[in-house]
């Protein structure tokens, strides 16, 4: 009920044109990875999914943000069923340890049915350019080789709700779900990340 209303509201505000280049209804577990430029990104991807798949698509988000206040906590746990990961504090040990724990948590919480929505740049881009990918996507794909990797290109969301703004301007956006990224066994980390990033950028070039 709330999720349907929220998805409709989001489509209204972000005026999304959605294009699929893979089967939207595929029953496989998926890792949707998108470019990140706005707070709206994950909810736009989430609302663009068919309702039956939406129920199983869980965004990965920072615990510190989503556990503030009752509304956020309710949305994160009941509506989006977000996978809340710890962001690295100043005293929280080495970066590698921390990243490994986060990836393990994501892979584990996918269980047997759920898909994930992730943003491999790690942070929002200020100007809409797609930055370099962090290695999390690589380790996640290693931990869950059964999951399909789907690039999702988001266009114009940085203009609808840019970094640092609280109120959206309701322009139109475009969401493009690309073809499933083929798996290549034994691929090195850098090569994989570059291939994933260019698969995402290719969606931008041909829209």
């Amino acid at each position: 009920m709330i999720d349907t209303a929220l998805a409709s509201l989001c489509r209204l505000v972000a005026g999304s044109t959605v294009e699929w280049r893979c089967d939207p209804y595929a029953s496989a577990q998926r890792i949707y990875f998108g470019n990140h430029s706005s707070h709206l990104d994950f909810i736009v991807i989430w609302s663009s999914l068919p309702p039956s798949r939406r129920r199983h698509a869980r965004p990965v988000a920072g615990r510190d943000y989503w556990e503030q206040g009752r509304v956020r906590r309710y949305l994160a746990s009941e509506v989006f069923r977000a996978v809340l990961v710890e962001r690295r504090g100043a005293d929280a040990g080495s970066a590698v340890e921390h990243a490994r724990a986060a990836v393990e948590q994501m892979a584990c919480e996918m269980g047997c049915h759920d898909s994930l929505i992730v943003f491999p740049e790690g942070t929002r881009s200020a100007n809409g350019e797609v930055g370099p990918f962090k290695s999390g996507l690589y380790h996640l794909s290693r931990a869950r080789p059964d999951a399909e990797l789907v690039p999702v290109h988001l266009e114009n969301l940085n203009r609808i709700l840019p970094k640092g703004e609280a109120l959206p301007v309701p322009m139109m956006s475009r969401v493009t779900f690309g073809p499933v990224l083929p798996v290549r066994s034994g691929e090195q980390k850098a090569a994989f990340l570059e291939r994933a990033r260019s698969a995402l950028l290719r969606l931008e070039a041909c829209t």
Binding site: G15, T17, R159, P162, E165, V169, P170, M172
Partner: protein, 316 residues
């Protein structure tokens, strides 16, 4: 709910209904007879357009039936959607974000609220004077001077075309023309009918006979044959329904001529903007037509002229 009182308006609506039924039948026949692939895509587009016309005409008639408030709300929503299409294409920068927020959520509602409260004096100058000054101040305060003039002009044009001009359609509802009391919705219907019929007829004449292009660098589909045929036939139709207006037959003919001509140049101007931005349509909301702006481009430029001509000549 105030059911439509004016018998003239009921007749016009019945006429439009008959036209839509006729078009759907023609569309269905074309659909069955078409064979080649290129003709197939044209016929599919025509049928998509006819279906969209049913929805648009339906919404307009429902709004007219429901009364003034709903009619104003319909055009407020149209402005909102048009503004969104315009701004999406416009080369704005992060420094314009808050200015744009004002345009969508303050200026647009206030403009239509002024029509509802029938405050002509402020309605007619709000956007050209006060908002124009305000937007310039707001953009200046944002501190980004890169392409400042271009961005300010774009934001101002967006509001002028999508909000100010469009709001002149329901603004007709506030005209109290002696001898034509209570028939303002009919005048509004006349405006929309003549302008949109002119568009449709220009399309049909152009498809049937069009060879000589008027402005190939702006719009490849606009031909002299389509323009002349469409303007003449829509003007004749406008004249034929003079009894629904406060005008004499001659005055109705002149008004219809002005409307169809303004509609044509409106379409050209909006096409020029699309060429500049490198797109074919403003959006995809209306099947077969493109976006909201693609459908109302002619109305934008015809409505203010029609309003002021009527106000000048027919109000005491």
């Amino acid at each position: 709910m105030t059911l439509i009182q004016d018998p003239a308006l009921r007749t016009l609506i019945a006429g439009v209904l008959a036209l839509l039924v006729f078009s759907s039948v023609v569309g269905w026949i074309l659909d069955r007879r078409v064979s080649s692939a290129s003709a197939r895509s044209t016929v599919d587009n025509i049928n998509a357009r006819i279906r969209a016309w049913w929805v648009m005409a339906g919404l307009f008639v429902i709004a007219l039936t429901a009364g003034t408030v709903v009619s104003i709300l319909l055009f407020a929503l149209t402005s909102f959607l048009a503004l969104r299409e315009f701004v999406t294409l416009a080369p704005t920068k992060p420094g314009d974000h808050r200015t744009l927020f004002w345009s969508f959520f303050v200026v647009t509602p206030v403009q239509y609220y002024l029509i509802w409260m029938q405050w002509y004096g402020l309605f007619s100058i709000l956007i050209p004077v006060y908002v124009s000054i305000f937007l310039a101040i707001r953009t200046t305060l944002a501190g980004d001077t890169d392409r400042f003039l271009e961005r300010s002009a774009t934001n101002q044009w967006a509001l002028m075309i999508c909000v100010y001009f469009v709001s002149y359609v329901p603004a007709l509802l506030m005209l109290r023309i002696p001898g034509y009391e209570g028939q303002a919705p009919t005048l509004m219907f006349f405006l929309v009918l003549v302008v949109q019929l002119s568009d449709v007829l220009q399309y049909i004449w152009g498809k049937a006979l069009g060879t000589r292009r008027i402005a190939p660098s702006i719009s490849p589909n606009k031909t002299w044959e389509g323009f002349v045929g469409g303007v003449v036939s829509a003007t004749l139709l406008g004249t034929a329904v003079w009894w629904a207006t406060p005008f004499s037959p001659l005055a109705a003919a002149l008004m219809a001529l002005v409307l169809t001509t303004m509609g044509f140049v409106g379409g050209l101007i909006m096409s020029a903007i699309k060429r500049d931005r490198g797109v074919k349509d403003y959006g995809t909301l209306i099947g077969g037509h493109g976006g909201v702006l693609d459908r109302i481009d002619s109305l934008c430029f015809a409505a203010p002229v029609f309003f002021h001509l009527t106000r000048y000549f027919y109000l005491p």
